[in-house]
Subunit: 427 residues, 4 copies
């Protein structure tokens, strides 16, 4: 399904006057505060968030899945869905594939299809948390960390194949979320699990092209409930240190113990030049994979506050970051959920851009805690929606992507094309 | 598959001498401490734990399931498996069914089959956390709490049917774990959800036979990740208060927020005469559904300490309790996991029986905190395994059920009968 | 120290033009959305938050306290400080006293002093978490729950005295935060602790004037680290049910286990007509007592969303609520901290007033989760600061209380009067 | 106060027969299992736990402190108290001092006094979490991380002085628990705080004698409630990596977020050769500083399981570890609490020694999760009390130290000597 851009123009035309009133009022306030509105608009427009192929269908839990309709049935349809999002918001210009579900049969065709939607291929993702049919060895007791060399070799080979598929499509990074872990005390020797995993990683790392990165994700629990091999940022950093320059940590917002100060972890990774990227989502309890910004929007802002500070600091030399969403849409239309998520990410980014860094630095230097809070919250309380809308307007996207999506009945159209019982493949 | 009891006799014969040495040493120590060993053995023997029908197969997570072999393919085979456990430990004399997966086609036959293994039917469980094929309305947005009366009616009808099946089999209780909840702020009005649920509960309660109980389980999150309708013991108690005498709270050990003092909740329910029963399991992070006693055995003991105190207190008039396991065996043989779980439960029970209640009461009265800890830990540190083994010996069970299970290659036999790809139905 | 109101007028004059631009822009947007701006301003102006007498000095931890200067040395000076706050923001029109530290020697004088600042006396607070010199019995092992009747009687008598002091001053409520609890398993019998506490409560309740309320606060841990007698909202509700109509639950935002859904607890209390009031603060880990809105501002908004809904619902008959701050200012000037806290509370309140309740109800009825989130976040994202400023302007308060406080060097003045080493009494 | 050893002999005489029956029974069982009982006894006897000087008095919270009587009033009396413990259990042969409270005026005398009790001086501890009178600069906003160089220099100088005192007494390690952190987002720049701290550490490290170690403790929160500079093991390890070989991580059991897998952290530190030592205590919620083993005894066992495995592994070259208690005795007699804590530590150690490592390794290699659990829990369930008692008997300590302490009325004697209102100095 390809959106008729004239419909977007019409939508923008209809909303234009109301938008302009709000944008002008905000622009005036920001100018008063010595913000460069055009520079802000450029930065906001340039910020692109990759959509993972597995997030285009309805998600579920171990207790079941309540599917919606019109879900993409193939890699081509997944690319179409991301293209649709990108057309709506001009902020989702990349797709992140999951192998084995998204193996491109004809990479050339797939690249052309993506290009027709102005999409790039972000990091490719391997999978060893599930067994596939016809697989020789089971990952029940681990993959890259398994005690049996045959299982490790199978998982290493799979990762190398994922790199190959990524090369075909123009990806520049491999993300490994290693679900390996244990459910009971004593099940494995922690140290030996680490060492076997390191050995496996090294073999994969050796196959990585020079301009690629390896993202080492961490997670404290689930699907295993006693320990995981890469349980926290400290372990991720240890692996990255031992692997080399191309290995970088990946932060998934839901992969932390209760009350973790995630923004400090972001700062630590940046300090060490070892931050690779993000999996955005939100959560209240564990890895809930909820819509970004739906539960703790202030935490998201504080994370972006670190990112903006770190990326603009001349002292740091962290490589450019990858931004991805990793959410599970159990009770929302996946495309609506993703529109909300991208908006939340860009909201936090825009707010973080507004922080008066010089004033903040001075307040920090003088231990003026009250003022430091005022400075941060001044940026956070600013209603940046007109700024984001203006950025979209200038990029040819819809002023109100979600409203447009509903008005033009996109989901209904997808259901018509793909059926009410079309379920996305993947996870 | 029916175990040859002569094999158990042989096993017990082989282990007898070694067991007797240990048991006699322990019995001597306990007698020194004025414990009545025979009375202890009787209580331990009488303690029976129900096995839920869904725990006989391999469990999984949203990321996948790594099945084992020889799993029961039918209600009859589930009963056989529980019968097998009961033969091994003489402590698992009941099965708890899950509708719609375990609907008895011919209740008379099913009852006779169960009786042949000396099994009773414990609480029956309804299910509205998943949609079934041919169902008119979806539970995606709730069941007993749904905004649409048609959906609520369907769920009410289902629960009433579950009662009917239970009546056919001789059950005396209905357990409702209501997964209804929300994933996002604003999704539902908390109060109206409660009120609709109460109305649905009342209709189900009205159908409950006089000698039945309704167990109202609570859980803070999962499968929904912002709120659940019956989120905590306070909410469960409110429902029970409003429903009437037959409604009682059910405590699942994994259904609590981090650091919750569960033993105090047990005490509160008992104080109000509103404790119905338990779903035993263990966990480190959330509702991990691990083997009972594998992570926090001391907490389990403290819970039994409350139960023994409460059940023996003349001040209290709580009805008799139901004991059930509710675990998910993702990386263990389900039957081995259940043998370990039952053993852990009875261990905690036996240790709690050893607590010197008079001395404890005196220490509490005098605020002698050090002594109170000594008294509890004295009981906890006692190695009660010979006591449990002796109780099994006297009941005709195996001295070492797990060792026997492995020696006689029960799983291999089940695989041979049922196949390596026989997957349990249910959940 | 009494603020010269002409300085406030001058401040407002200086900021007037800039404020008006922002307010007019916001008012235009709100009017577009069918909000009644004048009605909003009235509600915001009427919302008053009580300041506890113990929050006027620097707080500390068990590891020490780093005092600031110019802290109030007496009840009179505490009242002056609250008067100062109220002059600045016209939103802090009440003080909540802590006995024994704030015993009024001459209640008539104290009432006149408070009236001169337009202050009322909110709930009075008893203290049995510390021993005072000359006290007969120690609270080391509890007070209202103590095993020894003499200790309980002493604590009961103290609470009755607090009521008497409150009557003298025109208070209408007693807040009991009962720190009683245990540090070790077995230290106390949970049920008997509850029963002794209930008996003590009943004796205090009997002395409560007809138009008074008793607020029953709950807290899961600290200063005791295994259990507390009133550990959660369920226990608080049980006490309130058993005591009678005047007993109501009090929610302190920091008194919950990790990840608790506090807004649902608020809804439950309201549903039962049993919500008494709030102790506002913020926290990341435990009872951190940080500035309101400094860590989880969205949670605060969601709580106010419940409160606005509940207070406006014709189905509910909960009594009017008490709003108090309970924070500890360890690294901020206490008065600045309180100004930030009051502003955060009123921000959340104003945002909650903006929620389109009809639209939300419709979205809920239709399970339109995406839209429900949009509706809530639309209100939350609105920058309501101009609305609050306008409300202050109309009430004669400062447009920017914190800026004014710093410009006029209030703290320096207080230090000059009271000394650099004047430490607040209390806690 | 010096214990009359003949009283201990008498006590042991009285308990001897009963002890021997239990010990012989256990020894027989252990021998059956191919354990070398004498080797076990030697290892248990050699295991010594250092007592911190601040743990000899009653602890408290920010809400108050309920002191006991007879607390040590001087460094000399603190040494006497540890001597007393060591006489009772022959397992507390070291004291860990806290400067500035324990500055030895005459180190020679102090060393002689300690030697008379057979005590060594374990790690010395610096303090910058509190201001002392006559101090030039305040640590309110940090010490080694402070933005102001003068404050950092003062803190560095203090640490160097602590090293000097340690050298005088024969200590071989400096423990730095750096309380520096922030209470609010934005208060400090995370990276710069780290860099300033590193610079300060390097200056201290440069003053460390060659045979000394620097222990870098971590803690996620308290006394600051938003962030701490050394928040987790990953940060501790980063500092140690950057400082050099003598810098090692220190694990305090209470310094973790909810649900942290501490035993895995222990394994990680050991793998990197960077584990320095332990601060033992127990907790349910945060840094509760409760008696070791009173809340999670199985977790303690699992930690010792890692330690025993790591210390005996030929693959690892971690330096010898320091064992210290760090607890706060709010409702128990401090000496009784310490006796219970040392007993709990040695219990976990003894149980960990019993683990059949070869069998465990085989089960791990074969992913036999059920068996791995059986092996660990077999060791854990063994009642090792007779083993510990025998070890004490052979070392000349009391069979039942706590019982002996009470029988001989040690506390009463201390109160008689030191007064009912003698409060320990320190923290």
């Amino acid at each position: 399904m390809i959106l008729d851009k004239s419909l977007i123009d019409q939508h923008n035309e209809d909303k234009h006057a109301s938008h302009q009133r709000r944008f002008q009022a905000l622009a005036a306030v920001l100018s008063d505060e010595n913000q460069h509105v055009d520079a802000l608009l450029d930065k906001i427009a340039a910020f692109q968030v990759a959509i993972p192929s597995w997030a285009l269908g309805t998600g579920g839990t171990r207790f079941g899945r309540f599917a919606g309709g019109g879900e993409p049935r193939s890699l081509e349809e997944k690319i179409e869905d991301v293209g649709l999002l990108h057309t709506l918001n001009q902020s989702s210009g990349a797709i992140s594939l999951h192998i084995p579900w998204d193996i491109p049969q004809n990479p050339g065709d797939i690249k052309r299809l993506a290009a027709s939607f102005d999409l790039k291929f972000d990091a490719v993702n391997s999978n060893t948390f599930q067994d596939q049919e016809l697989q020789n060895f089971s990952y029940k007791y681990g993959s890259l960390s398994h005690t049996d060399r045959h299982v490790r070799d199978q998982a290493i080979t799979h990762n190398i194949e994922v790199i190959r598929h990524g090369i075909d499509l123009g990806s520049k990074a491999l993300t490994i979320w290693l679900s390996d872990g244990t459910d009971f005390p004593g099940q494995q020797n922690f140290r030996r699990s680490f060492e076997r995993t390191l050995d496996s990683f090294q073999q994969i790392y050796a196959e990585l092209p020079d301009d690629w990165k390896l993202f080492v994700e961490y997670k404290p629990y689930e699907p295993h409930f006693y320990s995981t091999v890469i349980s926290d940022w400290g372990t991720s950093l240890l692996f990255c240190q031992k692997l080399g320059q191309k290995a970088l940590g990946l932060v998934d917002l839901g992969h932390h113990l209760p009350n973790t100060n995630i923004e400090q972890i972001v700062s630590r990774f940046l300090m060490e030049g070892k931050l690779g990227g993000f999996h955005f989502n939100d959560s209240k309890y564990g890895d809930d994979d909820l819509t970004v910004g739906s539960i703790r929007p202030y935490q998201l802002f504080l994370i972006f506050n670190e990112l903006v500070e770190g990326m603009s600091s001349p002292e740091l030399s962290n490589p450019a970051l990858s931004w991805m969403i990793d959410a599970s849409h159990n009770v929302k239309d996946p495309l609506e959920d993703l529109l909300q998520s991208v908006e939340a990410i860009k909201t936090a980014y825009a707010q973080a851009l507004l922080v008066d860094r010089k004033a903040l630095e001075k307040a920090q230097e003088e231990n003026d805690t009250v003022l430091a809070q005022e400075i941060l919250q001044h940026a956070y309380k600013t209603d940046v929606r007109p700024l984001l809308a203006q950025s979209r307007l200038q990029s040819g996207a819809a002023l109100h992507p979600l409203a447009f999506y509903r008005e033009t009945k996109v989901r209904e159209e997808l259901v018509r094309h793909r059926g009410a019982k079309a379920f996305a493949t993947g996870l």
